[in-house]
Amino acid sequence: MLVLAWRNLWRHRTRSLGAAVAVGFVVWMSVLYFGLVGGTRDGLYVNLTDAVGHVQIHVRDYRDMRDFRQALIPAAGALRARIQAALPGSQVAATLEVPALLSGQDRARGAMLAGLDQPPAIRERFGEKYLTEGRLPGAADLDGIVLGGGLARTLQVGLGDTVYAYAPGTDGTGASAYTVVGILHFPEPAQDARGAILSLAAAQELAAPGALTRFELHVPEFRRTTDDAGLVPLRDRLQEALGQQVVVETWRETYPALSDLEQALRPIVLMFVGIFFVLTGLLVVNTIYLSVIERTREFGVVIALGARRGRVMRMVLTESLVLCGTGAAVGLALGLPIVARMARGFAYPFDWGEIAEAYGLPRVMYASIAPVEVVIIVAFAIGIGVLAALWPARVAGRLAPVEAMRFVA
């Protein structure tokens, strides 16, 4: 039946080739599309998890705490030791967030100070990404502060200027003077207008000695969205090791909106790919239907010789599947090597890298297509082959042999 289907498709090679090329093009394009979006998701994933960690540790019910002091993890040093004992080799970042009033010479502004203690690699990427002037304060630097660009403009300060911070603390209100050592540019305007970075030691000295708002656990081997499945067992293991005083959450649980953003990409791709396949399917329907109509007499003979309706319908279905299968095979053969090449890394042409960076994406992307996405594309192609054949197959299967054999095209 396959041989017959193949030869029948070659009767009108221009028409069949046109339909097969259309299927092949859509498969090829879908492979690239999935590959690029997979790379985008992975880039987004790396950026998001660089910023917030893969797993976060807070005090229990921290979301319900009105006062930042209630949400602090006390005796954080001991907890850090337990984290590193539970997951040796993991990279732990510590953050103390303190609401404060920041003042320059003439102006003051409410701000969120973040005292950071980051692993060197994360700190380096953070600096590369956000720092526009100066440097980040060192781990033992108690005087340096880095301001968001919007905040620096509001306070009318620049590098080397002094700013004063007033903050509620665990031991009463704290006040301190800092020297601006760097300016950051955060893509998020609210963060740019309110964000300031200190060393963790400086923030603790100002507001909460020995305490933290959260730990962030960075797992270097988790660089792709597909690695994310490993986070839940890791979270559970850590929760068991740390006890019930703290809560361990994956980044998706801590930031569901970011998780939704990252997860929305695949349905969007599926929708577009689906539309492309439906449009191609119309072309395949046209090809198969014309082929059936032109061969009405021949189908009449086949039925007269004893083929059941189901057999005739399978003949038409096979032609459609051979057509779509051939197109899909060629599309995959041309598309997958390109994605494999782009998986080694590629930069955006022109100045699109800057645009991508503004949207939180890396300048260098690594295309990525999951096996399940290849299966989805093949399933789309097969599905189109089946759906496109249904109507023509029904027409062929219901032919009355005597009338069909009298048919003149």
Partner: protein, 230 residues
């Protein structure tokens, strides 16, 4: 001898645009196994319609068709298809070969529909082609064969499946004199040597001279049924 095919009171009325045309009117006949029967008559006399009804290609308006004691005129589409596949061989005036298949693939097509394994069906198809004198043309496609050769392939297609009855509708109408006679002789040979039952609709006098029996139809009725000693 019990009839292989039994037809009783067969009537076929076509309705088109409110007009009724009686193609067959109360036709009854028996065909014995091994007979070579011709259905003769002028164009429009109902020859092809009778063959179609005997072969289960169409349903009669009234009457009965029996094959080996089983009534077949009331069978549904799928059971009729199965009956045609197992019991009947068809040869059409216009050959009706499948153009993308070679001679041997065409001859083996019915066997393929029956699910006979490839090697077995090719062996039987090539033997049928050889019996009909075109064994050396087995690779050729229909468009590489003459009309006579194509009709031989069509006969081989019917023959290879070893049906109970071969129904042939004007098999020599599109063939020149020599080719037509050669085909008739081969059909006659198959009938005599292998006992294949033929029912042939024709008005070709060359063919009528070589059959056992001629059933004459006019206006859908049998007007004469004569046995012959060819």
């Amino acid at each position: 001898m019990d009839a292989l095919v039994r037809v009783r009171g067969l009537t076929k009325i076509y309705r088109l645009d409110g007009q009724q045309t009686t193609a067959l009117n109360d036709v009854s006949l028996d065909i014995a196994p091994g007979e070579f029967t011709a259905i003769a008559g002028p164009s429009g006399s109902g020859k092809s319609t009778l063959l179609h009804l005997i072969g289960g290609l169409d349903h009669p308006t009234a009457g009965e068709v029996w094959l080996e004691g089983e009534r077949i005129d009331r069978l549904d589409h799928n059971r009729l298809a199965e009956l045609r596949l197992r019991s009947f061989g068809f040869v059409f005036q216009a050959y009706n070969l499948i153009p993308v298949l070679s001679a041997v693939e065409n001859a083996a097509f019915v066997l393929e529909l029956r699910g006979v394994p490839r090697a077995e069906r090719e062996r039987r198809a090539r033997r049928a082609l050889t019996d009909l004198g075109i064994g050396d043309l087995w690779r050729r496609r229909p468009n590489q064969l003459s009309g006579g050769q194509q009709q031989r392939v069509a006969v081989a297609r019917a023959l290879a499946a070893e049906p109970k009855v071969i129904l042939a509708d004007e098999p020599t109408a599109n063939l020149d004199g020599t080719t037509g006679i050669a085909l008739i002789d081969e059909m006659k040979h198959l009938n005599r040597e292998h006992g294949v039952t033929f029912v042939v609709a024709t008005h070709d006098p060359r063919l009528l001279e070589r059959v056992n029996r001629i059933v004459y139809l006019e206006d859908g009725r049998i007007v004469r049924d004569e046995a012959r000693a060819p």
